[in-house]
Assembly symmetry: C2
């Protein structure tokens, strides 16, 4: 697509965003329901496209250029995936309207009232990979929160994406929402050009690898809400309960919120290490042990799935059934290790000692700090948000699992009667800054 | 300063930030009071440094390379500037502790409680210009909110800044706060090197021109909280009250929250234009009128301070007593003009028509949308925040006047009893997502 066409896409999105400001809760709800209905109608076409995507991907898997796990994520037909996708639209529709919430108010003077009111961020650029149903999920989240969105999915699912997108466009044509509120682009090159358009695009949401997020952060003036993978850690403290430790540590470490580093207190090596290692081995986790923990294993122990760790293991997101293990001397060393090597996603401590748990939760700089609970709870649905944009590893705007709130900002509305600032000051009127009990409706 | 030394500054700030996480409200309050006391003690030294800065600046003013208004901002001795600076520390100290506030909570399961708790962003890099007292103001805001900060002020006030900084360092030495929590750098080149260090720095806050903010956004992966100048607009609607219009339009347009564009409805030109133009002329405002408004002035009107406008006038932040005037046909055209030309800072409508006011406030994409009130109310103190970092023109994280809240983010604390996600799901436990009435203290 030419540079001019991409600028036009961004302008179209901005113009759609301007129109979205005026929509009512009912307008947006109607659109979500319409999208759901049209997707249901077009299920056959969508499955046909998905079938074709899978056939193409299958060749790549056989040629060894596409992973089996990615192939699996492409699939929209198996199990209840399609139904779950549709249900997701209804779930988002049922959430309270996030727009127009008053989050601060102050009476500045007689007849001068200030309100801080939530509103959409504006135009989103969302980049995601593999799973085609994300286009529907993000469309529902964007429209519910009054945002326009430009979407880019993975190239392996392009036919499915196009079929889903075409259904969304057809549905929007039956509503007051301008169809340009949701637009699809197809290539990485198009993203690069869009990243220059900070005049029209307000927020970039890349969902993918750390390298993708860093690449985008380095390429644009637009704020980036990074959803990178997570390097999560569990620290098993000297005062930990062994059973809880095993439960929390063994957590299928292949998801982004799964722990990939195990820190264990030196003083409990003899009691806790072997049961933990054995539990992990029984779950097919390949282990990277540091020298000290390795030396604690009995000589007869089967080490076919155990390696001696190297420093980079503690900075690697294995994204597979792998875990690095390190012995630490206390909670301070654990905190320091996490703050140096973690990805500020989610980290857990297992301990019965409240003081140490508090210390850990205060000192660890991460979106989630957990005490005796699995890091895999880091998820918008599990947190009770009803829907999620992803898990943000940002330190500003929105952190951790991000629900609709992350797609909102606010504006200050001030309503006066010809008030000017020169009326206030020494020897003149004073600002009241009083609580407003009955909100005006504007 | 060498690149290595700058990396060390960033590492020092990160380490200080890690320690700041454990401080109590009292620790931080004690530090603010200590800083205030030492500044008071060292007033003589600080004034001596300021005297020298002013002598140096005076030469530049005489040589025509420094503006008189910038010279004025350098001055810390005149009037009650120094006392006001100290009072600002006490004002910030008196604000409620913003850290540790629970902003969301949910009982996920028996014994599994989730809390979203406010915490510091971490390490700030703040770039400001001219007024040296900002170093004290930002120090107080950063410490109150538990952040470490690296500060860079204007080079014209370097001696004053150094004297203020030395007092702050001396004060911090008497507290539990690591002196590296606040560090000063001196040159633009140092900033460039620091902008690469997203591993250690969490947020850049540039306070200055649009070009400074854009330069920084284009140079770094670190999130930027832009505090650019504002291009604010007042739209005088057909249903406006003339007296209110004059009050709101005439607002000393030399501050960043002053209006620099006047839009006026075509149907009230004959009644409103001349009084508005005359009021502005009486306040020494140089006007840039579009053809239509120009043609409405009586032939005998003194146009010595009136120019015919050119298109770029509507994209220019005059930062002086200047205003561009344009005739529009309705509120829609006014909204469109503002969304295309404004800087999303603050825009006002003057009208007695509630429907039109609502339309304007919904449609205009700006941090502040005002109805019958001067745009100059856009200010943290006037809003009742007690202190302000500046006025953000961002669309994410913090928008408009930013108080302590803009320096905070949150972490999710989850407290369980060995809970794992595989216990939940179809045929297993269900998430409760219940309200927590009695908060745990951790």
């Amino acid at each position: 697509m030419s540079k001019d066409s991409l600028v036009q896409i961004a302008i179209n999105a901005r113009e759609a965003s301007n129109k979205l400001q005026y929509l009512t809760t009912e307008d947006r709800s109607f659109a979500l329901n319409r999208i759901k209905a049209v997707l249901e109608d077009k299920k056959r076409d969508i499955f046909k496209a998905n079938e074709q995507d899978k056939q193409n991907a299958d060749k790549l898997v056989k040629a060894g250029t596409l992973s089996a796990s990615l192939f699996k994520r492409l699939d929209l037909e198996s199990g209840d995936k399609f139904a779950t996708m549709l249900q997701g639209i209804s779930d988002i529709d049922r959430l309270p309207d996030p727009i127009g919430q008053i989050t601060y108010s102050s009476k500045l003077d007689e007849g001068l009232e200030l309100y801080r009111v939530t509103c959409p961020v504006g135009v989103l650029l969302v980049i995601f990979e593999a799973r085609p149903e994300v286009v529907v999920n993000i469309t529902a989240l964007a429209l519910k929160s009054g945002n326009a969105a430009i979407l880019k999915g993975g190239k392996e699912s392009i036919l499915t994406l196009t079929a889903l997108y075409s259904a969304i466009q057809s549905a929007l044509n039956d509503t007051v929402i301008p169809p340009n509120a949701i637009q699809l682009v197809e290539t990485r090159e198009e993203i690069d050009a869009l990243l220059d358009l900070d005049k029209y695009i307000d927020l970039v949401i890349p969902r993918g690898s750390n390298s993708l997020v860093r690449y985008i952060q380095g390429r644009t003036r637009i704020p980036v809400l990074g959803h990178a993978d997570g390097l999560c850690t569990v620290y098993v403290d000297k005062d930990s309960d062994l059973d809880k430790a095993i439960r929390v540590v063994v957590n299928y470490p292949a998801a982004c919120n799964a722990a990939e580093t195990l820190l264990i207190h030196r003083s409990i090596l003899s009691s806790h290490l072997l049961p933990l290692v054995t539990a992990l081995q029984n779950n097919n986790v390949l282990l990277h042990l540091d020298q000290e923990s390795l030396s604690q294993l009995p000589p007869s122990y089967d080490t076919s799935r155990i390696q001696s760790c190297v420093p980079k293991d503690f900075d690697t997101e294995f994204l597979d059934l792998e875990m690095a293990v390190k012995v630490v001397s206390d909670v301070e060393e654990a905190i320091q290790h996490i703050n140096s090597h973690g990805s500020k996603h989610t980290d857990a401590i297992v301990t019965e000692n409240e003081q140490i748990a508090k210390r850990f939760m205060q000192g660890v700089d991460a979106a989630g700090v957990y005490w005796n609970a699995s890091t895999r709870f880091a998820d918008g649905f599990r947190y009770g948000f009803g829907a999620e944009v992803g898990v943000s590893t940002n330190k500003t705007h929105a952190r951790g699992p991000v629900g609709l709130e992350g797609l909102l900002i606010y504006k200050y509305k001030l309503c006066g009667n010809g008030h000017v600032v020169s009326e206030f000051g020494e020897g003149k009127k004073k600002y009241l800054h009083e609580k407003i009990s009955v909100f005006q409706d504007f």
